[in-house]
């Protein structure tokens, strides 16, 4: 029998890169800047966006869907357009904005002209980038537990959390400045803060990173090698 063996990157191909990406995504979330999808400027994904996207039945929120699968979907261009409109900084909710006499373009017109170069890209590339944008937002969300009963909705939970922990006001019924509304806080920050609170409240809590799935794969390969080598 042997004691501990060192943890070598060579035994877990892709792990170091996955950790580096995780750190980049987490760190960049703190800068408060917009993101890009195929060069198109978008806001960091929030609970507000998720609710709107689910109301318009965006196919990008379907669990396990891939860029290739979506590329073959009928009317995918309008799905992409709707997605990018909702997450774009130009998005305005409510009735369609009427052009005022002094305006040359409405926000929607501006959006349409920015969107047009994206149409020229391969649709599978655009779909992949959108899915990557969503995946990065949920990097620290943990796995959804199937079969969990729902007694409240995600944005209400987020609002309650940010109220309890950081003093945000829970106020959906009055007009509130966007920067003070908890449902406009980027999900990347919310999920990281949730992890920290979990560890602070319970130092024995077992946390996990998405990159650790690579470790499980590496361990399985190592077990196979050990069996072949007859390691006792």
């Amino acid at each position: 029998m042997e004691g501990a063996r060192p943890f070598l990157d060579a035994d877990f191909p892709g792990y170091a890169e996955a950790v580096a990406r995780e750190r980049l995504v987490r760190g960049a979330a703190c800068l408060g800047i917009n993101e890009k999808i195929c060069g198109f400027e978008v806001k960091p994904l929030t609970a507000f966006h998720i609710r709107l996207l689910s109301l318009v039945r965006s196919p990008f929120l379907i669990n396990g869907v891939t860029g290739e699968m979506l590329a073959g979907k009928p009317e995918i261009i309008s799905d992409v357009m709707r997605f990018l409109w909702i997450v774009s900084p130009m998005f305005k909710s409510g009735d369609i904005e009427k052009k005022k006499w002094w305006q040359r373009k409405t926000e929607k017109d501006k959006f349409n002209s920015t969107f047009s170069p994206i149409v020229k890209l391969g649709i599978d590339i655009v779909c992949r980038e959108i899915l990557e944008y969503i995946e990065e937002a949920f990097l620290d969300a943990g796995e959804p537990s199937a079969g969990d009963k729902s007694y409240w909705e995600f944005e209400v939970e987020v609002s309650h959390e940010l109220h309890e922990a950081y003093g945000y006001r829970v106020d959906f019924w009055n007009e509130m400045p966007v920067e003070k509304n908890p449902i406009h806080v980027p999900l990347k920050l919310i999920f990281q803060l949730r992890k920290i609170r979990r560890k602070w409240n319970n130092p024995d809590a077992v946390l996990q990173n998405k990159s650790e799935k690579i470790i499980s794969l590496g361990l399985a390969a190592m077990n196979e090698r050990d069996k072949l080598n007859g390691r006792k």
Partner: protein, 169 residues
């Protein structure tokens, strides 16, 4: 003049935040007269007869040196004296297993680590730390941790199968 404090434990062998790969073993299980399974964790001569369960990545180690205060009351129950007796050293860690096909760790499964504690005033370097055997007495896993296959483990030192030099405490 400042004095050097006595270092009971150094994490140099396995610094906090570091990871290592270890192999867990399952000891032979005997059945008693009532049909209960008894894992013979500390049975003499059981040193190398465990079944290899596979490799696990461990992290977040913390060692706990425990003692218990025992009251030594007088004839009338009055408080006269007390004694401090040594308890099992405990080790807490997080372990990650490979995916499907790897057994879930159960109480009684054990691991051998180059980790220990010394009551001497010298800092124990990794080279000086001999192998110690730790057996599992608790495994906590919640349903939403299952996908990453990570578990919080609590282990006790198996004194009989560990190097005596580790247990000076």
């Amino acid at each position: 003049m400042a004095t050097t404090p006595v270092i009971l434990y150094t994490s140099a062998g396995m610094p906090i935040g570091a990871r290592a790969i270890v192999t867990f073993y399952r000891p032979p299980v005997t059945t008693d007269a009532f049909g209960n399974s008894v894992a013979s964790v500390v049975a003499v001569g059981n040193a190398a007869s465990g079944t290899n369960l596979g490799n696990y990545v461990i992290e977040d180690l913390s060692l706990e040196l425990a003692a218990k205060s025992v009251d030594r009351d007088g004839t009338y129950g009055e408080d006269t004296d007390s004694a401090l007796v040594r308890q099992k050293p405990k080790l807490n860690l997080t372990a990650q297993m490979a995916g499907a096909g790897t057994p879930t760790l159960c109480p009684g499964d054990y691991v051998e680590l180059n980790i220990g504690m010394k009551a001497s005033s010298t800092v124990a370097t990794p080279a000086a730390i001999a192998t110690s055997r730790w057996f599992l007495d608790g495994n906590s896993v919640s349903a939403n941790q299952a996908s990453a296959n990570k578990f919080g483990l609590k282990l006790n030192l198996d004194r009989q199968n560990s190097s005596a030099s580790l247990i000076e405490f």
